[in-house]
Symmetry: C2
Subunit: 415 residues, 2 copies
């Protein structure tokens, strides 16, 4: 029906990935039901089923975020598309943005704000630490930013920055509060409304257990007011009475005002929603809420505790302020004399298990091992520890036989 079914002489076959247990800092293995959802047939952009599915997805993500924000949607791109949409839509060129940097992804927020022509101010703590709220307050008082942009969980260091007092602080100073929860959402507590977030973004490829390519976002009414104050409906669909602000967002794709008009009752044409990624995002939220938001965080807490106990049970050291570690990733110091990249390569090639490398000052010093989404489970934790033990021994590292698996299993028995 579609011509010859045999591929041409140099064409590869259908995609056929090897089986992988993805235990790095993300992306991680997807929930099987999320993979199935993506093979569902497409419908039209304004099909009643499509618009109903978009509305359902909004309702599901309000629960995931812990918010009643009407402006809870998806940005069609990877997690950094969501970050850029939030920053470019909320910040005008020349506005001050304050970024507390405690790892690579703080640097990314500063980078994106710089590209948006903001006046960017950063404060830093050494990698492996988080900020006391007093330090953030001092900087807010000094800089008086339009926006505070703060990563919740930075996979580069594994740290989980406490956010619960930051919203109230921002409200006192009239500062918009944005957090990048890409690496943390779903595996660690996040309360958009209770913590006073004005904007928060994530991706699917970490604790939500889906593929990269869709960025959940939520915006407070105060953030929406900012968008509306600079609204411009694009040429081609603008009606005579539509807004056309001169300080429009310097991006069409990331103009959250237009994205909200597409998701909202006006259903104003913007991009063509990425249907299969919407199906995936919807299913990620659905499986999370079916299990229960608190139960999923607890499952990540236990898996993270088990992995932490396990790597210590193998005699390995852990990097950073473990009391402030995210549940879903641990940075394990590479023992002296052990070739870190060769260990990772052997884990992948011989056992099909991926653990992560690291960035910047930690490059070559630590592996990052994740326990996220579908893989925040006892079987995945124990399998990874058993494999790591075998491979470490192969590279001449003296490790206690069964020490990792036993310590992790003890955590599960006690949980």
């Amino acid at each position: 029906m579609n011509g010859p079914s045999l591929p041409g002489p140099h064409l590869p076959g259908p995609i056929d990935p090897p089986a992988r247990l993805l235990m790095g800092p993300g992306p991680v293995s997807a929930y099987p039901s999320v993979l199935r959802a993506m093979s569902a047939p497409l419908v039209g952009q304004y099909d009643p089923f499509m618009t109903a599915s978009m509305t359902q997805t909004q309702q599901l993500y309000r629960q995931v975020w812990g918010t009643t924000n009407d402006a809870t949607v998806l940005v069609d791109g990877t997690s950094r598309a969501g970050i850029e949409a939030a920053i470019v839509s909320l910040v005008r060129p020349g506005d001050r943005v304050l970024v507390p940097v405690f790892g690579r992804f703080g640097l990314l927020l500063a980078e994106i704000a710089t590209r948006a022509m903001a006046e960017v101010h950063t404060i830093e703590v050494p990698w492996g630490q988080v900020f006391p709220v007093s330090t953030i307050e001092e900087a807010v008082r000094r800089v008086r930013p339009t926006l505070l942009a703060l990563v919740q969980g930075d996979t580069s260091t594994t740290m989980n920055q406490p956010l619960d007092e930051v919203g109230a602080l921002c409200a006192r100073y009239g500062v918009l509060f944005y957090s990048d929860a890409t690496a943390s959402l779903g595996g660690n507590l996040f309360e958009a409304d209770a913590w006073g977030l004005d904007a928060a973004t994530a991706g699917l490829q970490k604790c939500l257990g889906g593929p990269s390519g869709s960025a959940p976002i939520t915006l407070s009414p105060r953030a929406v007011d900012v968008l509306r104050s600079r609204q411009r409906i694009e040429a081609g669909i603008r009606e005579p009475d539509d807004p056309d602000a001169s300080d429009f967002v310097r991006s069409n794709y990331f103009d959250l005002g237009m994205i909200l008009d597409y998701w909202g009752p006006r259903r104003l044409n913007h991009h063509t929603e990425a249907t299969s990624m919407l199906y995936a995002a919807r299913e990620c939220a659905r499986v999370l809420l079916a299990e229960g938001r608190d139960a999923v965080v607890e499952r990540h807490r236990v898996a993270g505790a088990a992995m932490l106990a396990g790597v210590r049970g193998l005699g390995l050291q852990v990097f950073g302020d473990v009391a402030h570690k995210m549940h879903n990733v641990v940075a394990v110091e590479i023992p002296d004399g052990v070739p870190g990249e060769e260990v990772r390569a052997a884990m992948l090639a011989d056992l099909g298990i991926e653990i992560g490398t690291s960035f910047g000052p930690l490059h070559g010093r630590v592996w990052r091992i994740g326990t996220m989404g579908y893989n925040a489970q006892q079987d995945a934790v124990l399998t990874t520890l058993a494999a790591l033990e075998v491979v470490l021994r192969r590279f001449g590292c003296s490790v206690p036989p069964g020490g990792g698996v036993d310590a992790a299993a003890d955590v599960y028995r006690g949980a």
Copy 2:
């Protein structure tokens, strides 16, 4: 294993779309093998299988575009993400951009260039026409733009702008030549190298027969030189010797220089490639090339000719300069007294077939009927015409019994 399997009291079930035959201007029904590809398991971002799949995808799209451009990649977003990436990366604020507008998507290119702070010049022809190359040349000579941005196929009018002489013209005046081939690629001839394109972008949701959410792009060496002249490696992964231009691209996500470094041998971390969408994009190109690029264009030509004959066989009028129509969509004038939106709603609700509405000056005047990708086939064409006949009659329109199907079948018999 993941907690209770019963959904909570207010949770929807797994996604379960109704069967739809999508015969609008896109998105259209995906090839079944593309849907299957998206349910393949995930692998890590730097898994050898992943990087090999990225390289394969580049090789496949070079053949789809008709190019030897090394810089042939995907942008992770919908088709307009690809457009914005091309424009924001090639155009500096204040640069002149010339956009010949012959429909809504020309207006979109102008809008995106305006958001990128370019000095935008437009020329226009009435909807339903294309530009003679002499008119474009006159404007190029007058405006002396940095970039000519020209839609190939504009679904809003169904027109297919001839591009074959435009590249040589741009080369004579030292102008970068960009084309948006979202609606046309795969269903109409496109020769990136032979026609002298410096940049071209598309989406999967039209003739390529995939879901929206990934934007193939190709860039000539001349375009890459522009990117490299303003290269800035982002903070967090920048090494001391890396470039850090002051006229950097005003977007991180759409900085094609960084995207090329991620796809290229350096594999420099940028976004996390949307794995499932990569699988989809790869399969879209694979099925196209397996059938043969020319054969797929010919299948679209025949399906378009059959649909054109069919709607005329039903006594309907067609909008625009049919000699310059894209193969894959036709604009059908809504007969006087026929409620256009009610016809569309009945087609969808009662027969599961979607045909399209229209924008701007054509809103309420025409339906747009597509024959794209998997649906550029006789069964889909005849089914749509049979359904349209029945529904038109229901709304009081006098149509010749079997007139549409017979005329279309004649085209297939003669093809």
